[in-house]
Amino acid sequence: MSAQALSPRVAVGGALALAVVAASAAGVIATPYDPVAVDLAARIEPPSAAHWLGTDQFGRDLLSRLMAGGHKSLLISLAAVLGALLAGVPLGVVAGYAGGWVDRAIGTVLDALMAFPSILVALGIMSVLGPSEGGVVLALALAYAPAVTRVARASALSSRRREFVDAARVLGMPAPAILLRHVLPHCVAPVGVLAASLLAAALLTESALSFLGVGVPPPAPTWGGMLAEGRPFIGLADWLTIFPGLAIALTLLAINLLGDALRDRLDPRMRAPR
């Protein structure tokens, strides 16, 4: 525990993640200004003592919007990954354990979904549902569920071939109990590692959807939406794009650093033989 926790990767990733979460959590309670309050007297002001990160074209405080937006972006990504896990893990475990036509049926649907890039799937769903927060969560969950299913299925498939599953069957254990006791727990590690990388991908895709205008509807702030709104002013007021971009980049960095550390901990090949 101690040697791993002290590695610079974990320290930097953890500090960044803590900062992002703290700022976003603070954004729920209170922000320096109202994130959607328009102040036409203070439009496009560079960073100053009053507005630490400047204001946008409607005079809204950028720091307040970043804090509020972070809260939204993180929650949406988390919910989407959770949704993908809830849909993908049971499907994958059942497909891998049952095999046969069940596996083939689930596999065919997944293959069809995976043939499209996940952002395209998400875009398609959003264009049907129209921009809304729930829609983004649903779209992202659906886009990422196939990957989760794949990993869970592979893990279940390899557990099923191990003799302890046969041993449980000989003991008279019914299939659902075998799934819960001997198959599901073995897929926690690979799925956990995948979930960390999906969290990063979901954050990025959410931003991309908002940037394209099919994500969370304005005026609610999201990082991707702020990036899109700042784009026309990039030559005039670069802080409008730099700060949201920086927020996205640092959060991704934090998630990836922690995700890598998690993978190294969980991957048995990385562990010293006991």
Partner: protein, 598 residues
């Protein structure tokens, strides 16, 4: 003894270095001499350092190991201080190596020819055509038929035994002075094992190659080795000519190792009465039977019939692919049979399903071959052993703990080990846990699928003793699946010989082992090395002396030539499969066990 030794080792010590700890010796002060064309057996259990010895000679010590030696020379060349570059020059040229697993040591993506010629073309700068010619000659020498065509084939087209022969041929291509064979036949069946080792001895004698034969099997050492070295935890306990060591073992460990060889034991007679299990015409096919797939599926088991009484052990013997594991798995319904009848204490196991099946299951338990894989690593020993009881609503947690403790003690493990996890146990201890898991349900029948073949000799003997004791106390019936006839000697009342999915012979142990009637059984018996103890306490290799065959090759039933066997009585309760005298079945050719598919 006048010729200088080919390999001279004096005072070889290999240590494992780990930061912050004192170096751990893996081999201590080893002396070993080898003369050309001599076979030296190195015997030891896991952890004895025998594989490290082989790696030392090849200069392939894993990182973190350090060696010291007063003398370590091969044909006058000092190996102790040899840099990697020097080793690269001798590896494959002067020293060849054969590994245990022929599946992994040949590269599946390259043809046999490419792999065989690699070394000679590298070391001796032979041209392509010349190298190929030599490879062909070498393949012929190890009796691979149609050698020229075999060179263009890929490893997967050959059986395990042929692959090991190809491996042998390819290592001998450069005419090495020393050949290291690390458990070369452990993965093979007895009959094939004998073919490979006979060939190894013959060819190396011809080429004058010295062989370092690393094995855990004393029978193999006794039959093939000229000299033997016994290793235990890095110490050389005993060395000498094979005859000397076997006749007058000096060290208690060697005596223990020899004493651990299973010997024919007098067993308590099974209970009289109706059979506990009776199997009639059991058939198992590949894949699931589908209504629209009426075509005859290839059968893994064809019309297998036998019965098993309470307190009886039936040994199922046969080579890999004979269907013996499938037989065990179909009895506990891990595999669904395609036909036949399986009656267990009056219940037709083929007709029960769902809850009724789960109700019989506790009485019919299985112990798997590899305890590392049959015990879920995430559970504690107590959790694993008590697992079957968690399904019973009438057993409280307290009662469960008590029964787990009792089961652990019954298999000779301390009850407080329930808190440990499988990875903290040795192989033998894990197999005991696996047995306890079955016992806790109070079964009547245990299907034992090669339960000791993954264990060291002395541990094997302990586990077999445990099983014999349990049978005596509890009146258990065993279906004991094994390829090792020595285990049969120790434990079985009756024997069922399977060959390619059909029963070719069955009967009481002594009748089958002493008066085998089917040619296949005879082949199996003569291939299995047996050590016999003299009155003086020494051991020597004993070829099984078999009475003249009862059945000619043409009279016997061979499963691969099709048809249905007719069982003829060869003695009381002793049946042998014969060809049906009636319709015009073509005469069965002698089996070609290692034939290249045409």
């Amino acid at each position: 003894m006048t010729t200088p030794p080919l390999l001279a080792i004096r005072g070889l010590t290999v240590e494992r270095l780990s930061p912050g700890e004192a170096p751990q010796p893996v081999l201590r002060d080893i002396d070993l001499d080898m003369a050309p064309a001599e076979i030296t057996g190195v015997v030891g259990e896991s952890g004895s350092g025998k594989t490290i010895l082989a790696r030392t000679l090849l200069g392939l010590l894993p990182p973190g190991f350090r060696l010291r030696a007063r003398t370590l020379s091969l044909g006058g060349l000092d190996l102790a201080g040899l840099p990697e570059k020097g080793f690269r020059a001798i590896r494959g040229r002067d020293v060849g190596m054969i590994f245990q697993e022929p599946m992994v040591s040949l590269n599946p993506a390259l043809t046999i020819g490419t792999q065989m010629t690699e070394a000679v073309r590298l070391h001796q700068r032979l041209g392509r055509a010349e190298a190929r010619e030599r490879a062909e000659a070498m393949l012929e020498r190890v009796r691979i038929r149609d050698a020229a065509r075999a060179l263009d084939r890929f490893p997967h087209e050959f059986s395990g035994g042929m692959r090991q022969r190809i491996m042998l041929a390819s290592v001998l291509m450069t005419r090495p002075k020393l050949l290291i064979a690390d458990e070369p036949t452990t993965a093979l069946d007895v009959v094939v094992q004998r073919e490979v080792l006979d060939l190894l001895r013959e060819v190396t004698a011809e080429l004058g190659t010295a062989v370092l034969l690393i094995t855990h099997d004393l029978g193999i050492v006794a039959r093939y080795a000229d000299r033997v070295t016994v290793l235990k935890r890095g110490d050389c306990l005993e060395a000498g000519t094979t005859g000397e060591v076997l006749m007058r073992p000096r060290h208690p460990y060697t005596r223990g190792l020899l004493g651990a060889l299973p010997r024919r034991a007098v067993l308590p007679a099974p209970k009289a009465g109706p059979p506990l299990l009776s199997v009639e015409g059991l058939r198992v096919g590949y894949g699931r039977p589908l209504p629209w797939r009426r075509a005859a599926a290839p059968m893994v088991l064809r019309d297998v019939s036998f019965s098993l009484r309470r307190g009886e052990t039936l040994a199922v013997v046969g080579e890999s692919g004979s269907g013996k594991t499938t037989l065990g798995r179909s009895l506990v319904r891990l595999v669904d049979p395609a036909g036949g009848e399986v009656r267990f204490d009056g219940v037709d196991l083929r007709r029960v399903a769902g809850g009724a099946l789960r109700a019989v299951r506790p009485r019919l338990q299985m112990v798997f071959q590899d305890p590392a894989s049959s015990l879920d690593p995430r559970f504690t020993v107590g959790g694993l052993v008590g697992e079957g009881l968690t399904l019973r609503r009438d057993v409280t947690a307290l009662e469960r703990a008590a029964r787990v403790a009792a089961a652990l003690e019954e298999v000779g493990l301390p009850a407080d080990w329930a808190e440990r996890r499988p990875h903290q146990l040795s192989g033998g201890q894990r197999q005991r846990v696996s047995i306890a898991r079955a016992l806790v349900l109070d079964p009547d029948l245990l299907v034992l699928d090669e339960p000791v073949s993954a264990l060291d000799m002395t541990v094997q003997a302990q586990v077999l003793d445990l099983l014999a004791g349990l049978q005596e106390r509890r009146g258990l019936s065993y279906l004991f699946i094994t390829h090792d006839l020595r285990v049969v000697d120790r434990l079985a009342h009756r024997i069922l010989v399977l060959y390619r999915g059909a029963v070719v012979e069955s009967g009481p142990r002594d009748a089958v082992l002493d008066r085998p009637a089917h040619p296949y059984t005879r082949q199996l018996l003569s291939a299995s090395p047996e050590l016999a103890q003299d009155a003086g306490g020494g051991y020597r290799i004993a070829e099984r002396t078999l009475p003249p065959p009862l059945l000619g090759e043409e009279e016997a039933y061979w499963p691969h030539s099709g048809g249905v066997p007719a069982y003829r009585t060869a003695g009381p309760d002793h049946l042998v499969a014969c060809r049906h005298p009636s319709p015009a079945a073509p005469p069965a050719p002698a089996p070609t066990r290692e034939g290249i598919p045409a």
